[in-house]
Amino acid sequence: MPSNSSAAVSRIRPPGSVKRPGFAGYPATRDDEREQPFISSGRLAILIVIASELMLFSGLIGSFLVYRLSSAFWPPPGLPRLPIQVTWVNTFVLLSSAITMTLAVRAIRRNRRRLARNWLGTTLVLGVTFLGVQGTEWVRLLSHGLRLSSGAYGGTFYILIGCHGLHAAAGVTWLACVSAIAMRGRYSAKNCAGVELCAIYWYFVCAIWPLLFGLVYLM
């Protein structure tokens, strides 16, 4: 009668005492490296998420292009113009946060945990600043009479920029979680996947913004 081999092994040895190379503190051998996938599941997952988010944004941009290019006057008469100078500064803030995120990833890959914590904190502050300025802008525009119901101009502005704002808020929340974990010293050069995945998502948030800024504010 065939017996279950793993059950037989577990009867002989307690589960913690089974030696597996490249696992539980044992150094990884070349064979273990060969078994690793060429792209991690986390990275592939975040790439798929970003691709689907980009599809959503391309649909929204497509509808914006129809309204924007078919109208002779933009903004329509009687509606307020969008604040361009403040948004230029805000764009600079967001793009700076991408640089600080890169520095954080570089620091954690070199196992400089304190430096990585500082750069993650800086990125978080810049992200919150971006969202704060966006929120202030929205409040001012609402007080000037630009609403979601203000025709295609108001509708496309709030939906496109609001969609990006939601993504930025999600990124800031993720960044806050990663910063909190980094404060406890959980990340190191060998265990930095959390920081890298958060960085990929943050790059997406930063990369899509100049396109939206150019289309909605400058075009």
Partner: protein
């Protein structure tokens, strides 16, 4: 009792077909306008909306290819980097064995 008069049924069906044909005829005569199949067909040449629709359609047509092309490029670059690393590791083992 219970038997169906087939002559009566046929007569009734024939009347129905006649009335339906008459209805379709009336509709075709009453609505002689040309129906446009797309949003751009009825627009005059050089209209802003034509350009807007064309640009938007082209953008939305190209963006999936661009997005999935970039994702495929990243996956391919990761695969190449992994292969290069493995090859380098294999070469190092061969050199050690040769010594």
């Amino acid at each position: 009792m219970g038997r169906i008069d087939m002559k009566f049924v046929g007569l009734k069906l024939g009347l129905k077909l006649e009335s339906m044909a008459a209805l379709v005829g009336v509709i075709l005569i009453a609505v002689p306008r040309v129906a446009h199949a797309c949003a751009m067909c009825g627009l005059p040449p050089g209209d802003h909306a034509t350009f807007a629709f064309r640009t938007s359609v082209l953008f939305m047509l190209l963006s999936p290819y661009a997005i999935f092309g970039v994702v495929a490029g990243i996956v391919y670059a990761s695969w190449r980097a992994a292969m290069k690393k493995r090859r380098a590791a294999g070469d190092a083992v061969r050199v050690q064995h040769a010594r």
